[in-house]
């Protein structure tokens, strides 16, 4: 049986929860940027500006979510970041939207 991981010190855990609450609006805003870009991709009108904003938002989400324990969120954000860094087509839009919907759900569950 694997050893039980040590519990996070309460002071750190409590402080992290407060920081999560403080930064949640910005985190949700980044997800909204992804949703807008994915919709534009679905509609075949993704501009370079949308793509750059989405790429940057996904990169930032990948960097922060795991820090708050949301490792699945980091994995999803990395996938989305890679997609927005590649040549996206409309056929990629469905997968992209699924990843972003799951990302939103992962974040909602942490609240």
């Amino acid at each position: 049986m694997p050893p039980t991981p040590p519990a996070a010190p309460t002071a750190l855990s409590d402080a992290l929860n407060r920081l999560w609450a403080r930064f949640l609006p910005e985190i949700e805003n980044r997800v909204s940027i992804l949703e807008v870009a994915a919709k534009a991709c679905t509609d075949g009108c993704l501009s370079q500006e949308h793509r750059d904003a989405a790429h940057a938002a996904a990169h930032k989400l990948a960097g922060i979510l795991g820090t708050f324990g949301l490792h699945r969120g980091t994995d999803l954000a990395r996938q989305v970041e890679l997609e927005f860094g590649e040549k996206l087509t409309r056929s990629d839009a469905s997968q992209l939207s699924q990843w972003i919907a799951e990302l939103r759900s992962v974040i909602d569950r942490r609240q």
Binding site: L19, E26, T67, H71
Partner: protein, 124 residues
């Protein structure tokens, strides 16, 4: 032993979590800077024991900031650890070749960040 760490990152959330982690878990003194230019000034002024430096920042990015730190005799010897969310191999090798002490990955674990730094910097 108490240490003074400078965190240079343009993202407020990363700065705050890293500072919280190092202050709460290790009891270290933390100084923050939100840009490479501000980081250069803070490093010279406060003489930290180590610098956590983000790679992707608008304006002066992490590698450029690192080179500027090395050019200044007042900051040339301060150990620098790069912090990056870039996971691709070529990026990792390019950053390691700069001459930094280590390249740490985002996301980091707030519970173990300080012990990871202690290990890398031989502070154990």
């Amino acid at each position: 032993m108490s240490r003074r760490i400078l965190i240079i990152d343009d993202e407020d959330d990363i700065r705050q979590v890293a500072a919280l982690s190092l202050e709460t878990v290790a009891g270290w003194d933390v100084i923050v800077a939100s840009s490479g230019a501000q980081g250069l000034l803070r490093a010279a002024e406060h003489q930290p024991d180590a610098i956590l430096l983000d790679v992707m920042m608008p304006g002066m990015d992490g590698p450029t900031t690192f080179r500027e730190l090395r050019k200044n005799p007042a900051t040339a010897k301060i150990p620098v650890l790069l912090l990056t969310a870039k996971v691709q191999g070529p990026d990792q090798r390019r950053f390691a070749d700069l001459g930094v002490e280590a390249v740490l990955m985002k996301p980091f674990d707030p519970l173990t960040l300080s012990s990871q730094m202690e290990r890398i910097l031989g502070w154990e």
